[in-house]
């Protein structure tokens, strides 16, 4: 059965192309001057430079963590470039001013800004490498008082909000990669939803890494004020590269009393070729702080990257706050993923739900690593965790490392994990009903991941299912 599938397995990365844009790029290396230069290139105020320098100094004292269940060659931090901006960097008023080559890149990715603007009503803040180049639907958002802009813009226009919340969830000293990001972050998105406002649009940002050898250090900060509601979408594709690229992003979510933040990610960065050459190192720190009666929900579909190392977490600080984590992580060929979540229950009657689906194929290694912590004051806290793994072939691996720490007896925690496989017999059955092998796999996998996909906004759910199909096609045979 595998001859037709083989062609699919050997399928090259569909989005592997490079757009030839002149980049304003720093020479490789990292030192205090580079940090100062990044800051000055972005005309940042003194307090932000101070913060970056503090982070840089802290980073120098830290060592790279090696506890994740992933293996990779040592990273040469002095060999990477820490800043790269498309040349056409002047204030843009409309899409017409955007470099046509950039626009055609988005077209190739199937995310034409204008089309999206008209058809889906999604405001897109597209990030090309590190500088935000186009923003849409701003008027609609500003009518409701929603601030949605690039991080650099926010530093100039809303310094008080940035100063108040930057590093409040992920301090610069949090971990090695967060410290590195805090020192050299290039740009990112900032979003503020005022009190009681329900954001009228799904906010979305497309990240792309373009210039070769450029580490991408995005920083996202979302603040939902009391009673606000926002749904944020993040999707990624990156062109094919032969050397590994480091991506160390930081995402901070602040959900004030009674607010809701829903953060969805589809990650399809270049995973390296069949031999495991190239591909993105995706070492990301994502964390949210939920105040009283607030809710933070993470949904992620991870299909790309050579190595994924991320644990979107929720600090359930306020009473009755809710944290959710829905994840599908797929590894094929030589991909490695160590992903999961941390739910820290501090407030009373806090609730968390974790649904994690891992799929391993080829020689991929997939680990779920999660921590559920019920602190002594968290009266009546509740956690439900389910992590299921699916293995395709006997050269891959699926691992589960849950940590459950309970220090309050009025709480209830439940943890379940299972491992199963896609069998020849299941595929045979589908084929007997007239489905092709790839449809059969797609069907079985969609069923396996259904609980997570139903949490995704609709357009993302479709994209995610397709992505999964493409990633896994040909892995059975």
């Amino acid at each position: 059965m595998s001859s037709s599938i083989e062609t699919l397995v050997n399928k090259e990365y569909q989005y592997g192309f490079v757009t030839d844009v002149d980049s304003d790029t720093l020479p490789p290396g990292l030192n205090e001057d580079v940090v100062r230069l990044i800051s000055s290139k972005k005309n940042e105020p003194e307090w932000l430079l101070e913060w970056r320098l503090k982070a840089y100094k802290r980073w120098l004292t830290m060592t790279e963590p090696h506890w994740p269940n992933v293996k990779y060659a040592p990273i040469n931090y002095q060999g990477a470039r820490y800043y790269s901006a498309p040349k056409s960097v002047k204030p843009l008023q409309s899409l017409d001013e955007v470099d046509p080559e950039l626009l055609s890149t988005y077209k190739k990715l199937g995310i034409s800004l204008t089309e999206q603007k008209m058809l889906s009503g999604v405001a897109v803040d597209a990030i090309f490498d590190s500088v935000s180049v186009g923003t849409t639907m701003k008027e609609e958002l500003s009518k409701h008082g929603v601030v949605f802009c690039s991080f650099s813009e926010a530093v100039h226009n809303h310094p008080e909000l940035i100063q108040q919340y930057l590093g409040s969830v992920v301090p610069y000293s949090d971990n090695f990669f967060a410290a590195l990001n805090s020192a050299v972050f290039s740009d990112g998105s900032f979003c503020y939803i005022p009190k009681g406002v329900r954001c009228p649009l799904e906010l979305s940002t497309y990240f792309r890494i373009n210039a070769a050898e450029t580490g991408q250090f995005e920083r996202t900060l979302i603040v939902a004020d009391e009673g606000a509601h926002v749904s944020y979408l993040e999707g990624c594709t990156a062109p094919k590269r032969s050397t590994n690229q480091l991506h160390a992003a930081v995402v901070e979510l602040v959900a004030l009393d009674r607010s809701t933040i829903k953060y969805s990610t589809v990650q399809n960065w270049y995973a390296g070729d069949k031999e495991g050459v190239g591909g993105i190192y995706n070492f990301v720190t994502k964390r949210g702080k939920a105040h009283a009666d607030a809710k933070i929900s993470w949904t992620q579909v991870e299909t790309g990257s050579a190595i994924t190392w991320k644990y979107p977490s929720v600090i359930l600080l306020g009473d009755n706050s809710v944290g959710e984590f829905y994840s599908v992580a797929v590894v094929n060929n030589k991909q490695q993923a160590d992903t999961g979540t941390k739910m820290i229950h501090i407030g009373k009657n806090t609730k968390s739900t974790i649904i994690s689906k891992g799929i391993s194929a080829g020689e991929g290694q997939n680990s779920y690593r999660g921590r559920v912590q019920i602190l002594p004051k968290a009266e009546g806290a509740r956690n439900y965790t389910q992590c299921d793994s699916m293995l395709i072939g006997n050269t891959c691996g699926a691992h589960t490392f849950p940590y459950i720490e309970v220090a309050n007896n009025s709480s209830t925690t439940e943890h379940e994990a299972s491992t199963s496989k896609i069998g020849e017999d299941q595929i045979f059955y589908c084929k007997a009903r007239g489905l092709s092998a790839e449809h059969a796999i797609s069907l079985i996998v969609s069923g396996f991941c259904r609980e997570v996909f139903k949490e995704l906004p609709m357009e993302f759910a479709l994209e995610a299912q397709q992505l999964l199909g493409i990633t896994l096609e040909g892995s059975v045979g």
Binding site: W67, I374, P376, S389, L391, I392, G393, N394, T395, C396, G397, A398, H399, T400, F401, P402, Y403, I404, E405, V406, A407, N408, N409, S410, S411, T412, T413, E414, H415, E416, A417, S418, T419, S420, K421, G423
Partner: protein
């Protein structure tokens, strides 16, 4: 800051009576000591000891146990559960007391049981072939510590196809003389193919003294053999207990481990099994009841190396007072171990608001055609169940006692030796109801 373990225990090592040891044993001990010195006591930075700090053990310097007291058989039997008529090997403060031991019936049945010291003299090849072969001490500080310092222990050899119903009861007693001492009992069990045998190991204390038991058991279960190992740990609540049971299983064999732990200020029980032959089965069950400021840690590893093996695991914990429970269960499935069927459950009942538990059920799977699941829950008594019982006229205290006992009962039911099961059920019942009957 204390001096490193290496310098603190060098003197104690020098005091050991090693004159009679054959060269291979002396070499094994020296190598183990070197490994222990190099490793030192594990810290919480070591992932396998993340939730258990052995600082209280590391901070003290224990002496070699030298003097044995003279407890009577009646005193000892009063402390243990099981049938008093079972053949027994009694170790007082780490040394075998032949006057208290009754092994005649087993010898008659054909089981070769001897103390480690005697076995080294009488069957040196057998001991050399097996001792330290399963319980390797590389990167295992406590196993290295035991291997270097183990003076006495028991060697059990069950010949091929021998089926013995009569269990062997190994009783480790610490009395007042054990205060400040370390005890390193060693058990070596070789169950030849198609044999069947039951072993009960009890750890008890006559006085509430502070001492350190560091036990290591190596159990080889041959093809088609069935072996049941029961460990009843009821050490003094001042004592420290680290126990490692390392098992290897042949084709179609069955190994059943039951671990009961209610003693020691700080205890750690390691049960490691390797399924080396096809279609072997492992059952690991355990119950721990701790109170006060006790700390009880259980770590189990099941390594599925051969295909078509099954593992079943059920651990339950009941924590009261400020007790701290830890459970770490790992299931590994090698790429060759297709058709593995693994199930693991861990349930913890927190009776007091100040008790805490850390659980880490872990799966590491490298084969695709497998069924592996684990489940873990932590909670308190179900309010609805309590309400139901009250509505039937059962008082609050009795309802709680009954429900707590019921929580523990299903894991106790896995004990196949009637006398042991009844004995443990009785202790559990008395503990929760504070009476022998409702």
């Amino acid at each position: 800051m204390n001096a490193p373990a290496a310098t603190r225990y060098a003197e104690a090592f020098g005091q050991l009576d090693t004159a009679a040891a054959p060269p291979w044993l002396a070499a094994l001990r020296t190598a183990a000591l070197a490994e222990f010195n190099a490793l030192g006591f594990p810290t919480t930075r070591n992932e396998d000891w993340h939730f258990t700090s052995v600082t209280p053990i590391a901070d003290r310097t224990f002496r070699n146990a030298t003097s044995t007291g003279a407890p009577t058989a009646a005193e000892i039997l009063a402390l243990t559960v099981g049938d008093a008529s079972w053949p027994r090997a009694v170790f007082v403060n780490g040394q075998c007391d032949p006057t208290l031991s009754t092994l005649g019936a087993l010898t008659t049945a054909g089981v070769r049981v001897s103390t480690l010291t005697a076995a080294i003299k009488d069957t040196p090849e057998f001991v050399a072939d097996h001792l330290g072969k399963l319980a390797t001490f590389s990167a295992q500080a406590f196993t290295a510590f035991n291997t270097a310092f183990a003076q006495d222990g028991l060697v059990v050899h069950v010949p091929r196809s021998l089926v013995v119903d009569l269990p062997l009861h190994i009783i480790h007693v610490a009395d007042a003389q054990a205060a400040g001492c370390m005890l390193h009992p060693r058990l070596l069990v070789v169950a030849e193919p198609l044999s069947q045998f039951n072993i009960v190991e009890s750890f008890v204390s006559l006085n509430g003294t502070e001492y350190f038991t560091n036990a290591v058991a190596e159990i080889s279960v041959g093809d088609g053999a069935r072996l049941h190992h029961h460990k009843v740990q009821r050490e003094s609540t001042e004592a420290f207990h680290v126990g490692t049971v390392q098992v290897s299983q042949g084709r179609n064999s069955l190994f059943h481990s039951f671990s009961y732990a209610s003693g020691a200020a700080l205890s750690r029980t390691n049960i490691y099994t390797r399924l080396l032959g096809e279609a072997a089965e492992t059952r690991l069950n355990g119950l721990y009841l701790v109170d006060g400021t006790q700390h009880a840690d259980h770590q189990t590893w099941v390594e599925h190396i051969a295909p078509s093996c099954a593992s079943r695991e059920l651990y339950k914990g009941i924590l009261d007072g400020h007790a701290h429970g830890v459970f770490n269960g790992k299931v590994f499935v090698d790429p060759e171990a297709q058709k593995t069927d693994g199930k693991q459950s861990n349930h913890v009942l927190l009776l007091s608001p100040t008790a805490r538990v850390d659980a880490k059920p872990q799966l590491e799977i490298f084969a695709d055609d497998v069924k592996c699941t684990h489940g873990s829950t932590v909670g308190r008594l179900d309010e609805l169940a309590l309400f139901y019982m009250k509505s039937r006229g059962i008082g609050d205290e009795n309802s709680r006692a009954l429900l707590t006992y019921a929580f523990a009962a299903d894991v106790l039911e896995t004990v196949e030796l009637d006398a042991l099961r009844n004995g443990l059920e009785r202790i559990a019942f008395e503990r929760f109801t504070h009476s022998t009957q409702l």
